[in-house]
Symmetry: none
Subunit: 190 residues, 4 copies
DNA sequence: CATGAATGAGTTTTCATTCAT
DNA sequence: CATGAATGAAAACTCATTCAT
């Protein structure tokens, strides 16, 4: 039964991490304060530093966790056709009211100033890029690696612009991105 | 004689704006404080609020000014070939140690939470996008507008990733982006 | 079997007291917190208040215990010559890297603000002073009591200065202190 | 007239330093908080960090300033006889309700953990010791330097003990200290 | 005996902004 | 035009202590 307290503790931790992800996208990374975070998570401010060493540590864990979870839920398997995969990727940007898409940009910028976060984010993006490149290669793409780089960059950039202008037409961009995915048709029309 | 004082005032204003642009990229939008700003500009802290209504107003003016200046100094005229234009655009990201490239992302994210800034940034990006689309159209591109959108997004995304990982190979990405600029070769030339 | 738990409890108590003595000299009386103390003692933070009524109570017991133990291990018996006794006393300051010597000053200052501690420390110093005076008297010193007072003060002061400047020459001071111990030679050499 | 604000600022600074000296002796070095300090000085808490970079910086300046002032007001000139000088030195401990005398011990202990303060205090004590040694030498003392060391230590120690036990008889100690000042009578009167 | 979650008051420090001069 | 003092709110973080389990 002693576990009950421990269980509650874990719940609080999870609640704080979830609240952090929400608030990073709503207010921006640097505007997430312990008080606001505690209020959103429904706990007293003092608890934040009981469960986490520091606010940056909490934000880092929350952001990298969310990003890792995102990568896991968008599996690009060889069975997925190039066009369906593109639909999936662009679709994630369109969903959610600007929410998760801003998390990436916020986290990248924060990582610029936090070596620890930079390392963790670097690992995640490297893994995602290589998984993306593998998917492209499985479909016979001649230059999977640089293409994955550009594709990821374009998606992050589109998410940023979409947050700025919700009227942005993402559907129209799919046709453009397809030109990247199908370069084999390029040059040799036979 | 009063001109001298007026001249000095203008100089101080310019100095503050220039310092703000530097600091936004170095420390992040929300970490730029009046004191740090005044110190970097070499003026007394009290002067900041003498020349500007508020700190956000100063940052907004500094950021939009720098972005507008950037667009002006990268003129995409019809004389410029597609490949040379691409070199020019990608080149701006490679230059400067992550400095100016982060300004865009910082400003976009800040604009997400500041309606006034959002309007101003929206105008600038719309202008840049339409200038980019015009350049593409002048070279016979079949879908200039969505292509301009994707290209801008990709460039902003690459700038963000480059700041995170300075080892990022931008040269390799040029070949990929070229597939976007030359879609006419694609698929069915009939 | 219940003895085992009791034994463990006593061990924890001792461990906390020993850790407190270390930390008082390392960090200063007021910088010793329950968490740091628990960590040093290798126990969980909650245990501190299980074994002791309060943190000040723990510190008081630790400090007075260590001081009492010190007095016991430096026995000034009549068999000990004045010069050998002086060597012994000054020697205790030179030993240990500033460690135990600071405990006295820290405790005196803390006692200044804690009536309970003051009483306990007062008893200990009175006992030590009277033992020191007895030793001096046994060697025929004409003014044992004030001399003991000055000697104790000088030793505490030297310990304080030694902690500040480890290069302090304690050997040279012995000759000076000897003048206090041998006043009988003074004046009437006859 | 613009100077009026500046003048007030200087006054506030002085007030904070004076309050710090009082509070260090009353509450102990580590118990002096910005709030308590501001309240004692009669200013708002925010002002503390306007005038001083940090609380330790304020305390360091206050303590070293007071100690330096003390050394200046107790001038040991050659004209002063050994016995009169001793009266003067011991007298400073007896005066003031434990106030200034504790400042030294508090500062020494704080200097143990603050390199910057240690350096400054080291310079002050070195200067005082050498002035004391010079005074002893001018009276023909055979071992001025170690004697000055012991004398300073004894005075600091007596101040500490006096604060602990206000009933401590300082007058009786003077006779003992005199044995240190007049060692020439000792041993070999020829 | 022991644990770890929780609390609320406390700490230093930074900040944008105002204003008298 | 410019200065620097002042203010009050807010920031992150630490703490001793309590208590349910």
């Amino acid at each position: 039964m002693e576990r009950i307290a421990t269980e509650r503790g874990r719940e609080v931790r999870r609640g704080l991490l979830a609240a952090a992800v929400e608030l990073i996208t709503e207010l921006g990374w640097n505007a997430v304060s312990t008080r606001i975070l505690a209020e959103r998570a429904g706990v007293r401010p003092g608890l934040v530093h009981y469960h986490f060493a520091s606010l940056p540590a909490l934000l880092n864990e929350a952001a990298t966790g969310a990003i890792a979870r995102f990568a896991d839920t968008a599996p690009l398997t060889a069975e997925l056709s190039l066009d369906d995969g593109l639909d999936l990727l662009v679709g994630t940007i369109a969903e959610a009211p600007g929410a998760i898409s801003l998390l990436f940009s916020e986290t990248y910028l924060a990582a610029t100033r936090d070596p620890d976060l930079r390392r963790r984010v670097g690992e995640l993006t490297a893994a995602f890029n290589s998984s993306l490149a593998g998917w492209l290669a499985s479909h016979g793409h001649p230059a999977p690696s640089p293409t994955a780089t550009v594709l990821t960059a374009a998606l992050d950039g589109l998410a940023l612009h979409k947050a700025l202008d919700p009227a942005l037409d993402l559907v129209g961009t799919k046709a453009v991105l397809r030109a990247i995915l199908h370069p084999e048709r390029e040059g040799n029309p036979s």
